[in-house]
């Protein structure tokens, strides 16, 4: 399945958002997620099915002013 992950096109054979995070090496990292511009809370990632062409954002703490 072709997905957009943080703006980059990736191929991933995964069913859910949680699967994608595991497959891409995020493990237990402190991140927040959104799919197609909508926030997906951590407890809902395992139930959030991904579809061809979905755009996923994975954000983490970063420097800010």
């Amino acid at each position: 399945m072709r997905l957009q992950l943080n703006g980059t096109s990736v191929d991933a054979e995964v069913a859910t958002l949680a699967d994608l995070l595991t497959a891409r090496g995020y493990g237990e990292a402190k991140v927040a997620t959104a799919v197609n511009g909508t926030f997906v809370p951590a407890p809902l990632r395992a139930d959030h099915a991904l579809a061809e062409g979905d755009s996923i954002e994975v954000l983490a703490p970063m420097q800010g002013g």
Partner: protein, 257 residues
């Protein structure tokens, strides 16, 4: 000091975490600043290097309050979604709400700001809105549920200081019970002193410290300046006057002509 959504801060120094030469210098700047709040952000994370995790460990060890921002957001939807993501990652209802309306000045889109503030407040956020000194906008933000206002001193990163002291003084006078923070544009400690002398509760800055030749020293300079301004304000400053008034008593002066 007025409190911020029920939280009393040790001081009114809010310091950004961006643009430092190194993580060690960032930590040293925070140590010497004594700042009580650190502003942070969210950016894309790679599953390979996971750079955000190291940064998070560093910030957590500072032992200060965390104020996530929505920097770079240009729409209400973008800002609201970012706020939700920040609340989950940083585990705080505080959000420094930025909805940018103009690219050259990074001036807030005050219309979008009010709308986003209302949505987030209804969702349980405690919003710190990055706004202008406009009194009407301030009133709308308070109506939307904000209990703190953060007017800019001047454009973000400009170092121009307090561009409209009259407007900032009017804002203070109009909202005597609202915690007010000068957010953005400060370049020198003397400007922070002025902000505190005007009766502001806090300052929020980043570039002036991070881009100084010696960020840690500049952080301490701002801390001292803030303390001086706060003390001066509480000491009830004299009223300025147009004409001279001799400070040395005239009575008893010798006649020597």
């Amino acid at each position: 000091m007025r409190d911020f959504y029920g939280t009393t801060l040790a001081n009114g120094f809010m310091l950004g975490t961006a643009q430092y030469p190194s993580p060690a210098i960032l930590a040293e700047a925070f140590r010497r600043s004594g700042a009580s709040v650190a502003t942070v952000s969210l950016r894309r994370e790679s599953g390979q290097d996971r750079a955000g995790q190291d940064f998070w460990n560093l910030i957590r060890d500072l032992g200060v309050h965390i104020l996530p921002n929505t920097a770079g957001c240009h729409s209400v939807k973008e800002a609201v979604t970012t706020a939700h993501m920040a609340r989950e990652v940083f585990d705080t209802p505080w959000i420094k709400l930025e909805v940018i309306g103009e690219e050259d000045t990074l001036q807030p889109d005050v219309f979008g700001l009010v709308e986003a503030a209302r949505i987030l407040t209804e969702d349980g956020f405690q919003v710190f809105p990055y706004t202008t000194e406009d009194l009407v906008v301030a009133d709308r933000l308070l109506d939307a549920g904000c209990e703190v206002l953060m007017p800019w001193g001047s454009p973000i990163g400009s170092g121009l200081g307090l561009n409209n002291i009259f407007g900032l003084r009017a804002l203070r006078a109009h909202f005597p019970d609202v915690p007010l923070v000068i957010d953005a544009g400060l370049g020198l400690p003397s400007q922070a002193t002025t902000a505190m002398e005007l009766g502001y509760d806090a300052i929020l800055l980043n570039t002036a410290v991070a881009k100084a030749g010696d960020p840690a020293a500049m952080a301490e300079a701002f801390a001292l300046a803030l303390k001086a301004g706060k003390l001066a304000q509480s000491a009830d400053p004299m009223e300025p006057r147009d004409m001279a008034a001799p400070s040395t008593p005239v009575i008893g002066k010798a006649f020597l002509e």
